[in-house]
């Protein structure tokens, strides 16, 4: 076997390609725009290709939560915060799906690119670090919001709630998915093994989400634990989202926005500094 000569090589439109290498001035804006689309498309294709792993399990989990905690057990629980128990927990379950899937998408995708070294494809390209960051975050948001939307649709089988404030609902979901996508990227930058990317979701995210008012109102807790709960960032996202859907929450909506935006600002800055320094991705 040998490589083909030019005369054997033609593009399908019949034109030979060989062009002189591009010598024109680099248009960084255009490069970054195309690179951004490429990263987002690649990320969406990645989780769509393995939908059995990425889309189906979280949707089934959510159905089980709603079936067991909402319909079976919930039917024997009195109202919570003035709402049927199933109606009370649906926003939390949707938000849980958004949080975990946004995080999981970025952490696994970015870490795989590190492990297999194909992150180098991006590092040797003229694409800026902010484009890489935003591209991966958008990929994580796409999965988080897609799974969240699926869970929301499934929840219609168990609950007939409709968002009281649709715009707030959407904005809180978008900001939360952004925040946890950033968290996933930071985790992936530091991770050195597959264990390192499962520690945070299993031992930090899941417990904090459960304790963040998904299944109960913190007003039910003793005063001490109510105060402790205020240090749990999940509380602000779950309650912000619940406010958008039910119009009621344990936390004022503006507090939720301030907390979420502050976290996004801090995590975005940390992620940019890490990428600029090449932590975990450069020698």
């Amino acid at each position: 076997m040998s490589l083909n000569t030019d005369s054997q090589v033609q593009a399908t439109d019949g034109n030979d390609l060989p062009e002189a290498p591009a010598r024109q001035k680099l248009d960084l804006l255009s490069v970054n725009r195309i690179a951004f689309h490429t990263i987002v498309r690649k990320e969406i294709r990645r989780f769509a290709r393995i939908w059995v792993q990425t889309i189906v399990p979280p949707s089934i989990n959510a159905v089980l939560y709603m079936l067991i905690f909402g319909s079976l057990i919930g039917s024997r629980i009195s109202d919570m915060g003035g709402f049927r128990y199933i109606d009370f927990i649906v926003p939390g379950i949707i938000m849980m799906a958004v949080i975990i899937n946004s995080y999981a998408n970025v952490v696994s995708s970015f870490f795989s690119s590190k492990m297999q070294n194909y992150i180098e494809e991006l590092l040797v390209s003229p694409v800026s670090n902010i484009t890489i960051l935003v591209g991966y975050v958008m990929g994580g948001m796409a999965r988080g919001l897609m799974v969240g939307s699926l869970v929301a649709m499934v929840s219609l089988l168990f609950s007939d709630i409709r968002p009281v404030y649709p715009l707030i609902t959407i904005v809180v979901a978008i900001l939360t998915s952004m925040m946890f996508s950033l968290g996933g990227l930071i985790n992936a930058v530091f991770a050195k093994s597959f264990d390192d990317i499962s520690i945070v979701p299993n031992f930090i995210l899941t417990p904090l989400t459960y304790l963040g008012g998904v299944f109960y109102s913190i007003s039910m807790l003793p005063p001490l634990w109510q105060s402790v709960s205020l240090f749990n960032p999940m509380l602000y996202m779950v309650n912000g989202f619940r406010y958008g859907i039910l119009g009621a929450s344990d936390i004022p909506i503006w507090t939720s926005f301030i907390v979420i935006l502050t976290f996004i600002l801090i995590m975005g800055t940390v992620a940019m500094v890490l990428l600029n320094r090449g932590v975990g991705i450069k020698h």
């Binding site: 040998s2 490589l3 033609q10 399908t12 002189a20 690119s113 020698h283």
Partner: protein
């Protein structure tokens, strides 16, 4: 214009590992340049720094006049890298691998599709375009990395052992491909390889690096002309009973029908044949014991190690 200018490049890992100890190197635009050295000499570290995969400790690197610290994007846009290790997403099929990298380089999809088709056909991978990279043979994976490095048509192509593990026929085809790229497209090529006949066959200039320093650099032909001797293996018809003394040629008997002869600089093969004929030895064929660049390289690297001892 220089395609690459490196000045005072230093790389230190931690406090004690000095991978590069002040490298100065210029590669002219359009050159086919060999960067040679033993394992661990620092070749891959230099390449890593040029491509922004490794942070340097000191010094400056310019690619076509673009400083990698100041005009990072412009410098990167000029470079195509074929690394030593496979570094693609093994689950991604061949065509999307190329299209992704084209996108990272700001090439729109229509142009990228056309170029991908051209390079995949050129490198005999078009039939495999829908095959996930993990299912390719070793040689195909190497060719995929070459196609990927060329998709944005870089002005400087860096080949870090591109033919490692590739069979002889494909290797020779790759030589032709790289030479064509260099001559017809004017692409500057920097090659590191352990197959020194590859460097001798293709490269015009060479730098030899050892222990983090450049120990020799210049025109390949000039360096080879500085070789003090060449060693040949001769097949003989007669069976020499003892090793003939043919000063200044040093002769060693390898087996019944083979001699090894060192020909010092300044003496011709004709001289050697005359002397052999005088002793009644008939030569049926001859070949270089090793390729000339390899011989030069080994002598240089050995003398460096002796100096260190």
């Amino acid at each position: 214009m220089n395609a690459l200018s490196i000045t005072g490049l230093v790389k230190t890992y931690g406090d004690s590992v000095h991978a590069l100890k002040g490298i100065d190197l210029d590669v002219l635009e359009g050159d086919f340049f060999a960067l040679l050295g033993p394992n661990g000499a620092g070749k891959s570290t230099i390449i890593g720094i040029i491509c922004s995969l490794v942070n340097k400790s000191a010094g400056s690197v310019q690619v076509f006049g673009h400083d990698i610290d100041v005009e990072t994007e412009a410098a990167k846009a000029s470079i195509g890298l074929v690394p030593q290790e496979f570094n693609f997403n093994v689950f991604e099929p061949v065509l999307p691998t190329l299209l992704n990298v084209a996108g990272y380089n700001g090439i729109n999809r229509q142009v990228a599709l056309k170029r991908a088709e051209y390079y995949l056909k050129k490198l005999d991978l078009w039939e495999k375009r829908r095959t996930p990279a993990r299912q390719l043979s070793g040689g195909m994976k190497r060719r995929l990395m070459i196609a990927r490095a060329l998709i944005h048509e870089p002005r400087l192509l860096i080949l870090d052992e591109p033919t490692a593990g590739v069979d002889l026929e494909i290797r020779r085809s790759m030589w032709d491909f790289f030479s064509e790229l260099n001559k017809q497209h004017g692409t500057t090529i920097i090659l590191t390889t352990h197959y020194l006949e590859e460097a001798e066959a293709m490269c015009r200039n060479v730098a030899i690096i050892d222990g983090g320093k450049i120990v020799e650099q210049g025109d390949v032909a000039q360096l080879l002309s500085r070789s003090m001797q060449e060693t040949f293996v001769l097949d003989t018809r007669a069976n020499p009973e003892q090793v003939p003394q043919l000063s200044p040629f040093v002769v060693r008997l390898l087996d019944q029908n083979r001699l090894e002869v060192d020909v010092p600089k300044g003496h011709t093969l004709n001289d050697m044949f005359h002397r052999l004929s005088d002793t009644g030895i008939e030569v049926t064929s001859l070949r270089n014991k090793t390729n000339r660049l390899e011989e030069f390289f080994m002598r240089l690297v050995n003398s460096q190690s002796e100096k260190l001892q």
